[in-house]
């Protein structure tokens, strides 16, 4: 779902085809009919933005018909845990959960906690401003007392046990409701339910694949939660052939999350310190709670080892390991906030490192106007990209909004080294690090980022040498002495330090369990610890698939600890025996007293399945022998999330921010905690219950092509790829073509309240009109790779999209919005500005449109605008 794997990840899709050839049934659920649909056994078209309604229907089907894998659910999930009496569900509050504050549009999640767990009131405003849930990328959120007895009802009958709470929450998600919301006929929906449940359980497993079709929504994290709930109920997590697979879109996008260039994260999903963390102890208290279970309990060792890697000998116990050198976050410092701050003149310098926001980020116009208002901009890339040349050829130069002679931004373009001109690791989508050897030297001024940032650091330190300013200490005390190879810092040596070093012996540690909280180890990223075990670059291993077993343990290295299947303890029953012989992965070998199997066990090797920890233990020692989810604070897979999410403990169907229809399930129309930026330069199209939605009557979605890569910097300049996909186009159904007078291969333009873009029309049955609650809804699709530079050029599709985001992770809702489409080319020059202005006027759009976000219970909630935005239609 939410993935066009055959076209976006074609080489990975060979394994789906392999499975199909061996008898697996492949179901593709997506708004568009694509090559993935063509190769699947079944394709289900649904309205973009309604996946939770569909998935909620599947959950309801499983619970109503008692089709869950009962023993798995009882043993490994939190189904039996009792939720506190203060919890109120969306069933009770017209689409809101308990704890909602309309003023900050956030939740105090304390009422979602388990009955027996102590919690303090936690206003959600701060967590929401920092995208705090993103910090749980390698384990669950902290929870005090997770190791102590949580009140349970193993019969799953108690009205407040998670299983019953779940049943009640999803009871409205009936096949009839799925049909009315998603436009999926009931028989087709039930067919998918039957396929999913029949292929799960003791003997069979089903895998779930998603991509950015799921993440780029205001409720994206809850899409994935909904899929995970199904997979947990059916026993499809931690087992061979099961799982929830995120297909990521860039060579090291997984790596750049693990070792983040993200404002709210440090390596290994340690949170970035915020203003409430005046000391290391205060910080650690926020990461792991007293009496919590699992390996997050050792967060002190991971954090102190990171500080030792950052500041070396200067980091000592006496000075809190230089914790105070860390800059503190205190709000939203995400990329969209930063772009708006650039427009507002609050940011002076910007580095773009292999990224092209002028084309690749939502609301390209906002991005470009921001970059045009900087003191300086550094672009590092292989080729000239739109983000480097905006001052002379951006769409705004056509409308007169950017004029080179008046644009003050100083631009430095540094040519980058390519993937064959440097060595290093990429982390691919299943957490595998693969090392690349350098093949050739780069030419001219081309340099790697490793060289650039190492050099920048050396030069900054030289410039500041002798400074007595306290603010310069973190830079001057930084450990910046990596081994060098021919004047370049050695990537292998950096990887060694990421792996971790035992400072007493100077040798690499074998894994994160060897990290210490006493300053005797230094480690750059605890989850990568083990990648350089035994002083060997494990990511460089290339043992051929012809010479190894099905799990290929000696090709590359997968975090954590080379485990290929996460939480694989769950592949065995509570007693440690495989659930079935044909689905055996790891199991307990009683004779040798250890876990063994085809994969590296994701469990303490010698902890027996019947182990019961002594009272008062915490951290890993508190994990029972059947606590398969070793990173969770209670050792269980969470059907219900008692903490950690900004938008509710259970997925709930909300309409997208821009939608042509009213929410049929609740008075609350769209996510009540979605992150809006109400400003005149970021208008929204109106959505019910607001008036004038008919001005933008169609559902719009965008996606990739096989032959181009995101913003096009690595594809539109290549002759082969430019020839294979030479022009921007828009796909519409024959019915919509007739309605709007569009002709196949003719020109058309798509309009939103942000701008209009022009493309060639493709009329195709692939875009089927949907019947939504008695009316026909048309969907429009465009690929988004084009810009004004390259061998093939075209309008920037991302310019159509406004900025509104998921409150958990601040990812924008770019997979669904509303639009109009008209035949012929768009107006040119300043006429374009007038044309879009006229659309905004007709739709009655102001900075308040779309930002009065509470609609439950007939409330007229406050508008979430920035300061005092200029009034009237923008």
């Amino acid at each position: 779902m939410g993935s066009n794997m055959a076209e976006a990840h074609p080489v990975g899709f060979q394994w789906v085809m392999e499975a199909k050839a061996r008898g697996a049934r492949v179901v593709h659920i997506d708004p568009r009919f694509t090559r993935t649909s063509a190769l699947a056994d079944q394709h289900v078209t649904l309205r973009a933005g309604t996946d939770i309604a569909f998935l909620g229907g599947v959950i309801n089907h499983i619970l109503t018909n008692d089709l869950s894998f009962r023993e798995y659910v009882q043993a490994y999930t939190n189904a039996s845990c009792l939720v506190g009496e203060r919890f109120e569900d969306t069933e009770d509050l017209d689409g809101l959960f308990s704890g909602y504050d309309p003023r900050t549009a956030s939740y105090d999640a304390s009422s979602w906690a388990y009955e027996s767990v102590p919690v303090e009131e936690r206003p959600g405003g701060r967590a929401k401003e920092q995208a705090a849930p993103y910090q749980h990328g390698s384990g669950g959120p902290p929870m005090e007392g997770g190791a102590q007895g949580i009140a349970r009802d193993l019969s799953l009958e108690h009205p407040r046990c998670v299983y019953q709470v779940l049943k009640r929450h999803f009871s409205r998600y009936t096949p009839e409701m799925v049909e009315r919301i998603c436009g999926v006929p009931q028989d087709l929906f039930l067919d998918v339910c039957r396929a999913w449940t029949a292929n799960s359980g003791r003997e069979r497993t089903a895998a779930l694949v998603y991509s950015v079709g799921w993440t780029q929504h205001t409720v994206g994290a809850q899409y994935i939660r909904a899929g995970s709930i199904i997979q947990l109920l059916l026993g499809n997590v931690g087992r061979p052939g099961g799982g929830v697979f995120a297909l990521r879109g860039h060579a090291s996008i997984q790596g750049s999350t693990d070792i983040p260039t993200l404002f709210n994260l440090l390596p290994g999903y340690l949170p970035m310190p915020d203003v409430t963390h005046e000391s290391l102890a205060a910080y650690l208290d926020g990461v792991r709670r007293p009496g919590q279970k699992g390996f997050w309990g050792n967060a002190d060792a991971y954090t102190i080892s990171l500080l030792k890697e950052y500041w070396g000998e200067n980091a000592t116990e006496e000075n809190d390991y230089c914790f105070d050198y860390m800059p503190r976050i205190d709000g939203d410092h995400g990329t969209y906030r930063t772009a708006m701050d650039m427009v507002d003149g609050k940011v002076f310098g910007y580095f773009l490192l292999g990224q092209n926001p002028a084309v690749g980020s939502a609301h390209g116009r906002l991005q470009r106007l921001g970059m045009a208002n900087l003191d300086w901009l550094v672009v590092r890339d292989l080729t000239m990209i739109e983000s480097a040349t905006f001052w002379k050829d951006a769409p705004e130069t056509e409308t007169g909004e950017i004029v080179a002679q008046q644009c003050r931004t100083e631009v430095f373009f540094f040519p980058a080294a390519s993937h064959v001109e440097k060595s290093g690791t990429f982390t691919q989508t299943q957490r595998m690090l693969q090392w690349r050897d350098q093949a050739v030297e780069p030419v001219g001024d081309q340099r790697s980022e490793l060289w650039f940032f190492h050099q920048l650091g050396l030069r900054l330190r030289r410039r500041l040498a002798g400074s007595t300013d306290e603010r310069d200490r973190p830079l001057l005390d930084l450990a910046w002495d990596y081994a060098s190879e021919d004047g370049e810092p050695s990537a292998a040596d950096v990887l060694r330090h990421i792996n971790g070093i035992d400072l007493r012996t100077g040798r690499t540690v074998g894994g994160y369990t060897e990290l210490k909280a006493d300053g005797s180890t230094a480690c750059g990223c605890w989850i990568y610890s083990g990648v350089y075990a035994d002083e060997v670059n494990q990511a460089r291993r290339r043992k051929s698939r012809f010479d190894t077993g099905p799990y290929d343990a000696e090709w590359g290295w997968t975090w954590p600890m080379n485990r290929r299947v996460l939480y694989n303890r769950a592949s065995a029953d509570p007693q440690g025996r495989p659930w079935s012989e044909r689905k055996a992965l790891v199991w307990w070998d009683a004779e040798r007293g250890e876990w063994t199997g085809h994969d590296t066990p994701d469990f303490e090797r010698t902890k027996p399945p019947d182990h019961v920890p002594p009272a008062g233990s915490s951290g890993p020692a508190a994990l029972r022998g059947d606590d398969a989810f070793i990173m969770m604070s209670d050792g269980k897979g969470w059907l219900f999330a008692p903490a950690g999410l900004a938008d509710g403990p259970l997925p709930t169907h909300y309409e997208p921010h821009e939608s042509p229809v009213r929410n049929l399930l609740y008075g609350q129309q769209a996510s009540p905690v979605r992150k809006v930026y109400g400003r005149p330069d970021n208008p929204s199209n109106p959505a019910p219950p607001e008036a004038h939605g008919e001005v933008f009557p169609y559902v719009f979605t965008a996606a990739r092509l096989t032959e181009h890569h995101t913003a096009g910097g690595m594809s539109r300049q290549l002759p082969y790829l430019a020839e294979l996909q030479p022009e921007l186009f828009v796909e519409v159904s024959p019915e919509l073509a007739a309605e709007r007078g569009l002709t196949h291969l003719g020109r058309a333009h798509v309009i939103t309240s942000r701008t209009a873009v022009e493309a060639r029309v493709v009329v195709t049955d692939r875009m089927a009109p949907l019947h939504i609650d008695g009316r026909v809804v048309h969907q429009v699709w465009m690929p988004y790779h084009w810009g004004q530079v390259g061998l093939t050029t075209g309008d920037v599709v991302n310019d159509l999209i406004g900025v509104v985001a998921d409150p958990n992770v601040f990812i924008q809702e770019s997979k669904v919005l509303t639009c109009d489409i008209r035949p012929g080319g768009r107006p040119r020059g300043s006429d374009l500005v007038d044309y879009v202005e006229d659309y905004r006027r007709r739709a009655g759009i102001t900075p308040w449109t779309g930002v009065r976000i509470v609609t439950a219970g007939g409330h007229d909630g406050p508008g979430h605008t920035e300061g005092d935005p200029w009034e009237g239609p923008s």
């Binding site: 990975g12 790596g255 995400g334």
Partner: protein
């Protein structure tokens, strides 16, 4: 060329007498084609690499020739990979053009404020200019404490975006250096 060789060079003759009666294979081969050798055969070195586009992580083999200067002659899939089994998609298969094409910029380019075109700039000078600007932007955006007196120790003057196509080791140094500078608006495609 003797008459017999001349006749054998005639495709129709080879179609009639050889194993390729439809003339779609060996029978249609010219002398020039017969003498061609794959670029990969003439490579001096083969280097293990990974495709730089999507996140599947297909293994590549980079074929390098040393003469007349070190250069990439071909990039192919690696059949040994348990991930890709030697296959590449159109983008991965085009990655030799990505690496060797004329679109690659080789020199630092500089556009001064209010400028209408690019200028040349020496790499060393450019690096020092960036050092100046980083320190100045850092100073202008510096914040020691918030209104409640809590530690901030940061600058809001510098931002960064990128990393999803870079190496883990590079991202590590980027985050480390920016953190030491007090710059925290460090962002990535993973947010997008």
């Amino acid at each position: 060329m003797g008459v017999r060789r001349w006749i054998r060079a005639w495709p129709v003759y080879r179609q009639l007498t050889g194993p390729d009666p439809l003339g779609r294979g060996k029978a249609a081969e010219s002398a020039r084609s017969a003498g061609l050798v794959p670029r990969t055969e003439r490579a001096d070195r083969v280097v293990d690499s990974v495709c730089p586009y999507c996140a599947v992580g297909c293994a590549q083999r980079v074929f390098v020739r040393e003469e007349p200067h070190e250069h990439v002659v071909q990039i192919e899939g690696n059949p040994n990979s348990p991930i890709s089994r030697g296959r590449l998609c159109p983008k991965g298969a085009a990655s030799k053009q990505l690496v060797t094409g004329p679109q690659r910029v080789q020199k630092v380019r500089y556009r001064p404020p209010y400028g209408t075109g690019w200028q040349d700039l020496d790499l060393d000078t450019a690096m020092d200019m960036v050092v100046d600007r980083v320190l100045e932007a850092r100073r202008k955006g510096w914040q020691d404490r918030d209104a409640k007196g809590r530690t901030l120790r940061r600058t809001m003057g510098i931002a960064s975006l990128g990393g999803a196509t870079l190496d883990n080791e590079e991202n590590y140094l980027i985050k480390k250096l920016f953190t030491a500078l007090g710059a925290l608006q460090v962002e990535n495609q993973a947010r997008i």
